[in-house]
C-alpha cells in the first residue's frame, strides 16, 4: 500500500511539473502571437522557473530515498541541466533578448515536456502495477 501511495505522490509532483512547463510554453506562445508583451511574458515565466527547478530536484531526491534508483537516475540529466543553467545564471528568461531566444526557449521546454511525460507514463505504470500487486496480496 505504501508503495502505491508513494507512486501517487510522484504522480502528482510530475503533474505539477507538467503544469509549470505547459504554463511557460503558453506564455511563450502568447508572446509569439503578440497576445502579451515581452515584459509580462518574461516576468510570468520567471516566476515559475525556480519552483520548477526545485520541484524537479525534490522529485529526484524522493525517488532516491524511496529506493527507486532507476527513476532517480532518469531524473538526473534533467536535474544536471537545471543546475548548470542556474550556475551560469541563464535560468531566467531575458526580457531584452526574449525574441531572439524564443525558438530556443520553446525547444528547450518542449523537450522538458516530453521528458516529463515519459516519466509520467512510467510512474503511472508502476503505480498501477503496484496497485494490482497489492490487490493480489490482499486476496
Amino acid at each position: 500500500m505504501k508503495e502505491v501511495l508513494a507512486w501517487l505522490l510522484f504522480f502528482f509532483i510530475l503533474i505539477a511539473l507538467l503544469v509549470m512547463i505547459v504554463f511557460q510554453l503558453m506564455c511563450l506562445a502568447d508572446l509569439e502571437f503578440d497576445y502579451i508583451n515581452p515584459y509580462d511574458s518574461a516576468s510570468r515565466i520567471n516566476q515559475v522557473v525556480l519552483p520548477e527547478f526545485i520541484t524537479q530536484g525534490v522529485l529526484c531526491f524522493l525517488f532516491l530515498v524511496t529506493g527507486h534508483w532507476f527513476m532517480s537516475l532518469l531524473c538526473v540529466p534533467y536535474l544536471y541541466y537545471n543546475v548548470r543553467l542556474y550556475h551560469r545564471r541563464q535560468h531566467l528568461v531575458d526580457v531584452t533578448e526574449i525574441f531572439n531566444l524564443l525558438s530556443w526557449e520553446k525547444k528547450e521546454r518542449l523537450f522538458k515536456l516530453g521528458y516529463i511525460i515519459l516519466l509520467l507514463f512510467m510512474c503511472l505504470f508502476w503505480m498501477i502495477y503496484n496497485a494490482l500487486e497489492d490487490d493480489e496480496h490482499s486476496f
Binding site: P38, R89, D94
Partner: protein, 1057 residues
C-alpha cells in the same frame, strides 16, 4: 568551354533532357526553330557576354598562340560528350520559324535551309572568316588581354539584353575563331550524334532525321545564330554546343526551350515559351542596363600561376579599392523609380531569390539596412501628407497606401501591393482612373508617387497625448569628472544648446547629479536659484518632490541657466571618488517614467555603490582564447538589462557618455543604450584641453538634431518572405515591432529576412518601413518608406544586384553579436567563411569551364567585399586580442558600430587618406576625391597626409617634410612632442588651408567630430597607435595584409570548388 558553363548549370535546374527528347521526336526542327527566334531578341545579352568571356581565360596564358589551338580541341570533345543530338537539324529550322511565324513550325528540312541563308546575307562578312582555322583565333585572343578583366557574364544573365546592333566589330573576329572549332564537330555530325544518342536515349528515334539533315544544316545553324544572336561571341564559345544543339545558342535559351518543349505540340510550345520568357525578363530584366551588364558581370583578379606563391601574379596596385567611398548600386534605383531613396533603405541584394534552394546558395544574408530618419539634402525633404479622414491602409495587412498599389474598378478599389487584397477607396479619396490605370490626381498625391512620405497620424495612433521633447541629465560629479574638466565643458555646452533644443516651448528638462549620494534639483520657475536636495539612502531610492524636478525649459529658463552656470563651481572642491550610479539611474527613471524622453548619462568612474555596482573585472589576458572570453563583453550585472528593459517600456532613450581613463565597464553601461535605441560616446582619458571640441560638438549634435520620440518601427514585406531577425540598438516589443524611444538621423537598423515559402510566385517583393513617432513639434506622424525589389530565379542575378555596403553593415552587426557569445577569433572566422562561401558559389557559376585556376573571380558588385571584410576583421571591435585594443574601447566601438548608418560604417572601415602638402604650398584646387590606398607605401616621407575615418583625424608628418610647413602648422615649437600640440588657426596661408580642409571633411559628416591628432613619422608608439594599425591593407599584428588576404581567400575558394 566557357559557354558550356551555363548549360550544366541550367540543366540541373530544370529537367531538360526529357522534354528535349519528346520534342525531338515530334518535330525537332520546328520546336527548336521557334525557340531560337524568340531567343534572339530576348537573350541578345547572352552572346555578347560570351564573347567577352572568352578573352579572359586566354589572357591568363602566357603563350597565346599555342594555347589557342589547344583550346579548341576541348570544345569539340566536349561537344561530343554533352551533345544533345536533336538540335542540328532543328537549328536550321528554328531560325525561320522563329522569325517568321510560329504556326509554321512543321516545316520540312528544305524549308529550313532558306532561313539560314537569309541570316547569312544579313551578315555577309561572317561566312568567309568561319573557315580560317587556328591562326585566326590565336590572333583574336591576343587582342584583349588586360590582367584584370571584367568579363561579360555568360548565359546566366538572361537579363543582360544585348541587342544585336550592339555587337562590336571584334565580335566578328571572335566569331571566326569559334568557327573552326565548330566545323570539326559539324562535319562528322553523325559521330557526334552517336555519342549524343548514347547519352540521351530519347533522341535515338530522331537520330535518323537529324543525321540526314545534319550535313546541310550545320552551316545553316551557324548562320542562324548570327542572325538570331547577332553577337558573335556566342558562336565562339558555343561552337561545341551548336554541333550538339544546333539551334539554341545561349544556355538561357536552352532553359526556355526546355520549358517550351515539354508540351509536345511544337507550335503551341514556342508561343508559350515566348510569353514565358518575356515574363521572366520582365521581372528580371529591368535592372540590367544592356551595356553595363556586360562590363559588370564579373571581374577577376589574376593571382599568379600558383596560388600561394606571391610572384608577379598578384599586382597589388590592381586590387580593387573603394577610393571613391561608398558606391551605391544604381541600376536598382533606376529600375524602380518610385522606390524610396537608398539612404533610407538598402537591401543586401536587390534580387530576391525565388526559391529557398536558391536562397540557401546565397551566403551573404538577404536583408536590409534601414535608416528611417536619414538626413535629406535640401530639396529632397520627405513630403508630409495629411489625410482628413483616416490614413488609407490595407484592411488585412495594414500596409500604407504607396506608389505601388494599383487602382482598379475605375478608381473605386485599390489592390494592396503586399497582400494583394482588394480594398475600397474611401469616397473622399476617390479619383477617376484614366485609360492607363493612373489616377488623374496623381500629381497632387505625393503618397502615390514618392517612395517616402510622412503621414500625420490621427488620434487612433496615440495611446497618450504626444509627449514633449524631454532631456534629462544624469551627471557624475565625483572628483575625476571635476578634475578632467568634463563637468565644465558639459555645462557650457548644454547651456549654449538651450536655445536650439527641439520642441520650442514644450521642451522639458531636468538634472540629477551624483557621487556617493544623489542630488536632485528643484527648478521651479518661481525660484531664483535651483534648490538642491541630497538623498543618501541608496537602498531605497525615492523622489523627494513629486514635480518640479522636471520642468518646462522656457518657463524655468533662468533657473536652468543659473544651475548650469554654477554647476562646475558647486563641485569644485568635491573629493568624493565613489559613484552611486545604479541608484541614481533608478532615481532618474522614477522622475522620467511619467513622460519618457532622452536620458543623457555622464559617467566618469566605475559604478561603485548601491545596485548595479560593478567589479573591476577588467581585461584579463588569461581569459582570451578560452570559452569564457565573451563574458567580459557582456553586461556583468543583470541590473543593467533590467533597467534597459524598463527604460524602453517607458519610452526613455539612454545615451551614455563615458570619460574615464580607467576601466569603466562600457560593456555593462552600454547595455542601457543598446536596448533603448541610444548611443555610446566614449572619450577615453578625457581632458578638457584636448577633447573639449569633440565633446562639445557631439553633445550639441545629440541635443539639437531632429529627434523622433516614442517611436515604433515595423518593416512589412510581401507574401512569402519574412523578416526573421533584427540587429541594432533597440528592443523588440513583439516579433516584428522595434521599440525605439528616440530615433534620429544617425541611427540605422539591420534586419535579415528569410523565405517562408519554398517557391515565390510573385515577380516583385515589396518592402514597407513604417516608423510611427512623435515629432518634436508634438505631432504624431508615420514615416513610410516603400521599396520594390524584383524576384529573380538566377543566382548570378542576385550577385549582380548585390550591395556591398549593406552586406558589410549587416555582417558587422552579426559579427559583433557573435563576439557576445564566442571568441573574437570565431567572429572573424565567421566573416571570412561567409565571404569564401559566397565567392566559391560565384566561382562555381562561372569558372568551371573557364580556365581560371590562377584567378579569383568575383562579381563587379562585390569587388570591395573582401577588402571591407578584412577591414571589418581589423576594426576596433573585432581586432586582435587582449593587447590590441582596450576592452572598453572595444565595447564602445561595438556599440557604435551597431548603430552606424552604412556610409559612416564604410568610412570607418576604410578611412580616407589624402596627401595635402602639395596643396598647402601651391595654389591649386584641393581635390578631396584623391584618396590613397591605406598602406604604408602610400606614405611618402616628404609628404603631409590627412587620415580621416569619420571619428578622428590623424595628420601624419613625413620625416622629410619641409620644416616650413611644420612650422607654419604647429608654430615654432615644432620639434616638441606632438601629443601636446594641436593644429589651430595661425596667421599664415598653410595653416588656414589645412583648417579649411579639415572643416570641409567635418562638414561632410557632422554626426561625429573628428579630433585632430598629429603624428610624426617614426614617433612610436604614437604613430603605431593612431595610424599604422589603421592602415588596413598592411600586415599588422597577426592579421593579414590585403594581398595575403586575397591569396588566402582565393585558396579557400578554390578548395572543393
Amino acid at each position: 568551354m566557357g559557354t558550356e558553363n551555363p548549360n550544366p548549370r541550367n540543366y540541373p535546374l530544370r529537367p531538360a533532357a526529357t522534354p528535349f527528347a519528346s520534342q525531338q521526336s515530334s518535330t525537332p526542327f520546328l520546336s527548336s526553330g521557334p525557340v531560337v527566334g524568340s531567343e534572339a531578341p530576348i537573350f541578345r545579352p547572352g552572346p555578347t557576354a560570351a564573347s567577352n568571356f572568352q578573352a579572359p581565360p586566354f589572357s591568363g596564358g602566357p603563350l597565346v598562340g599555342t594555347e589557342a589551338p589547344a583550346f579548341r580541341p576541348p570544345p569539340s570533345s566536349r561537344s561530343n560528350e554533352v551533345v544533345r543530338p536533336p538540335p542540328p537539324p532543328s537549328s536550321g529550322g528554328p531560325p525561320i520559324s522563329g522569325f517568321q511565324s510560329f504556326p509554321n513550325p512543321p516545316m520540312p528540312m528544305a524549308g529550313q535551309v532558306p532561313p539560314p541563308h537569309i541570316s547569312l546575307t544579313a551578315r555577309p562578312g561572317i561566312a568567309p572568316p568561319t573557315r580560317p582555322p587556328p591562326p585566326g583565333p590565336a590572333s583574336i585572343f591576343s587582342l584583349p588581354q588586360p590582367p584584370l578583366v571584367s568579363m561579360g557574364s555568360p548565359p546566366q544573365s538572361l537579363k543582360t539584353g544585348q541587342p544585336n546592333p550592339n555587337i562590336p566589330p571584334p565580335a566578328d573576329q571572335h566569331f571566326s575563331a569559334p568557327r573552326p572549332s565548330s566545323q570539326p564537330s559539324s562535319p562528322p555530325p553523325g559521330t557526334s550524334y552517336a555519342t549524343g544518342r548514347g547519352i540521351y536515349p530519347g533522341y535515338a528515334t530522331m537520330q535518323p532525321n537529324s543525321v540526314s539533315q545534319a550535313p546541310p544544316m550545320q552551316p545553316a545553324s551557324f548562320q542562324l545564330q548570327q542572325g538570331g544572336y547577332g553577337p558573335p561571341l556566342q558562336s565562339a564559345s558555343f561552337p561545341l554546343q551548336q554541333g550538339g544543339y544546333g539551334p539554341r545558342a545561349p544556355p538561357t535559351s536552352l532553359l526556355a526551350q526546355q520549358r517550351g518543349y515539354a508540351p509536345i505540340p511544337p507550335i503551341s510550345t514556342p508561343s508559350g515559351i515566348y510569353p514565358g520568357n518575356q515574363f521572366q525578363q520582365h521581372g528580371i530584366a529591368p535592372p540590367v542596363a544592356a551595356q553595363q551588364g556586360l562590363a559588370e558581370d564579373f571581374s577577376s583578379l589574376s593571382l599568379g600561376s600558383i596560388p600561394g606563391s606571391f610572384d608577379a601574379g598578384l599586382d597589388i596596385t590592381a586590387l580593387p579599392r573603394p577610393l571613391d567611398g561608398d558606391v551605391e548600386p544604381k541600376s536598382f534605383a533606376d529600375m524602380y523609380q518610385m522606390n524610396c531613396n537608398s539612404r533610407f533603405l538598402r537591401l543586401t541584394t536587390s534580387g530576391i531569390p525565388n526559391s529557398q534552394s536558391l536562397a540557401s546558395r546565397w551566403h551573404l544574408s538577404i536583408g536590409a539596412v534601414v535608416s528611417p530618419l536619414a538626413e535629406t539634402p535640401p530639396g529632397e525633404e520627405v513630403p508630409i501628407v495629411n489625410f482628413s479622414t483616416g490614413i488609407i491602409r490595407c484592411r488585412r495587412c495594414r500596409t500604407y497606401v504607396n506608389p505601388y498599389v494599383a487602382f482598379t474598378d475605375n478608381g473605386r478599389k485599390w489592390r494592396c501591393n503586399i497582400c494583394s487584397l482588394l480594398n475600397d477607396v474611401p469616397s473622399d479619396y476617390f479619383a477617376q482612373v484614366d485609360a492607363s490605370g493612373r489616377r488623374v490626381d496623381l500629381d497632387q498625391r505625393p503618397e502615390l508617387i514618392k517612395g517616402s512620405v510622412e503621414f500625420i497620424a490621427p488620434a487612433e495612433y496615440m495611446v497618450r497625448p504626444p509627449m514633449p521633447p524631454l532631456y534629462f541629465f544624469l551627471i557624475d560629479v565625483s572628483i575625476s569628472a571635476v578634475k578632467s574638466g568634463m563637468l565644465e565643458v558639459m555645462a557650457q555646452t548644454i547651456r549654449s544648446c538651450l536655445d536650439n533644443l527641439p520642441g520650442s516651448t514644450r521642451t522639458q528638462i531636468g538634472f540629477i547629479t551624483y557621487d556617493s549620494t544623489i542630488h536632485f534639483y528643484n527648478m521651479k520657475s518661481s525660484l531664483p536659484q535651483p534648490q538642491m536636495m541630497v538623498i543618501s539612502d541608496l537602498d531605497d531610492v525615492f523622489v523627494p518632490l513629486p514635480d518640479d524636478l522636471l520642468v518646462n525649459l522656457s518657463e524655468s529658463r533662468s533657473v536652468v541657466e543659473a544651475f548650469l552656470d554654477s554647476l562646475p563651481s558647486m563641485f569644485q572642491e568635491n573629493m568624493n571618488v565613489e559613484s552611486a550610479f545604479g541608484p541614481a539611474l533608478k532615481a532618474a527613471f522614477l522622475v522620467m517614467s511619467q513622460l519618457g524622453g532622452k536620458l543623457l548619462i555622464f559617467q566618469n568612474t566605475l559604478p561603485s555603490l548601491g545596485a548595479g555596482r560593478l567589479k573591476l573585472r577588467g581585461d584579463d589576458i588569461r581569459i582570451y582564447g578560452t570559452d569564457k572570453e565573451h563574458t567580459i563583453r557582456l553586461p556583468e550585472d543583470s541590473f543593467y538589462k533590467q533597467m534597459a528593459a524598463d527604460f524602453t517600456k517607458y519610452q526613455i532613450a539612454v545615451n551614455v557618455y563615458a570619460f574615464s581613463d580607467k576601466y569603466t565597464d562600457i560593456a555593462s553601461l552600454g547595455t542601457l543604450a543598446k536596448y533603448t535605441g541610444g548611443q555610446v560616446y566614449y572619450y577615453p582619458n578625457f581632458q578638457a584641453s584636448i577633447h573639449k571640441e569633440k565633446l562639445k560638438h557631439e553633445l550639441s549634435r545629440d541635443l539639437t538634431r531632429e529627434t523622433a520620440w516614442e517611436a515604433v518601427m515595423r518593416i512589412r514585406c510581401g507574401k512569402g518572405v519574412r523578416f526573421t531577425s533584427y540587429h541594432g540598438n533597440f528592443m523588440l516589443r513583439s516579433t516584428d515591432l522595434l521599440a525605439l524611444p528616440a530615433v534620429d538621423c544617425d541611427k540605422a537598423y539591420a534586419a535579415q529576412l528569410s523565405l517562408e515559402e519554398t517557391l515565390l510566385t510573385t515577380q516583385t517583393v515589396y518592402f514597407q518601413v513604417a516608423l510611427l513617432y512623435t515629432s518634436s513639434s508634438g505631432e504624431r506622424r508615420i514615416r513610410v518608406h516603400t521599396a520594390a525589389a524584383p524576384v529573380v530565379a538566377d543566382l548570378g542575378e542576385m550577385y549582380r544586384l548585390a550591395d556591398t555596403g549593406a552586406i558589410i553593415s549587416l555582417f558587422s552587426r552579426l559579427a559583433i553579436e557573435k563576439t557576445l557569445s564566442s571568441k573574437l577569433e570565431d567572429a572573424r572566422n565567421a566573416i571570412q567563411h561567409r565571404i569564401v562561401k559566397a565567392l566559391r558559389e560565384y566561382r562555381n557559376l562561372y569558372a568551371v569551364q573557364h580556365r581560371l585556376s590562377g584567378r579569383m573571380i568575383y562579381p563587379e558588385s562585390l569587388k570591395f567585399l573582401p577588402l571591407y571584410g578584412l577591414a571589418l576583421c581589423k576594426s576596433l571591435s573585432l581586432r586582435g586580442g587582449y593587447s590590441d585594443v582596450q576592452l572598453d574601447e572595444r565595447s564602445a566601438a561595438a556599440y557604435t558600430m551597431m548603430a552606424l548608418p552604412v556610409k559612416s560604417l564604410l568610412k570607418l572601415l576604410y578611412p580616407n587618406l589624402v596627401r595635402v602638402d602639395e596643396y598647402l604650398v601651391k595654389t591649386e584646387e584641393f581635390d578631396t576625391k584623391k584618396r590613397l590606398p591605406l598602406t604604408v607605401e602610400s606614405l611618402d616621407t616628404r609628404g603631409l597626409y590627412i587620415f580621416d575615418d569619420g571619428f578622428q583625424f590623424v595628420v601624419w608628418f613625413g620625416k622629410a617634410l619641409s620644416p616650413d610647413i611644420t612650422k607654419n602648422l604647429v608654430g615654432e615649437d615644432f620639434a616638441t612632442d606632438f601629443s601636446k600640440v594641436s593644429i589651430s588657426q595661425r596667421d599664415n596661408n598653410v595653416s588656414r588651408k589645412i583648417i579649411e580642409i579639415l572643416n570641409q571633411y567635418r562638414k561632410s559628416d557632422p554626426s561625429y567630430f573628428q579630433l585632430c591628432h598629429l603624428v610624426r613619422q617614426g614617433d612610436q608608439p604614437r604613430e603605431g597607435f593612431f595610424l599604422l594599425t589603421s592602415l588596413v591593407e598592411d600586415q599588422t599584428g597577426g592579421a593579414n595584409g590585403y594581398a595575403d588576404w586575397m591569396l588566402l581567400l582565393s585558396r579557400q575558394v578554390q578548395q572543393n570548388a
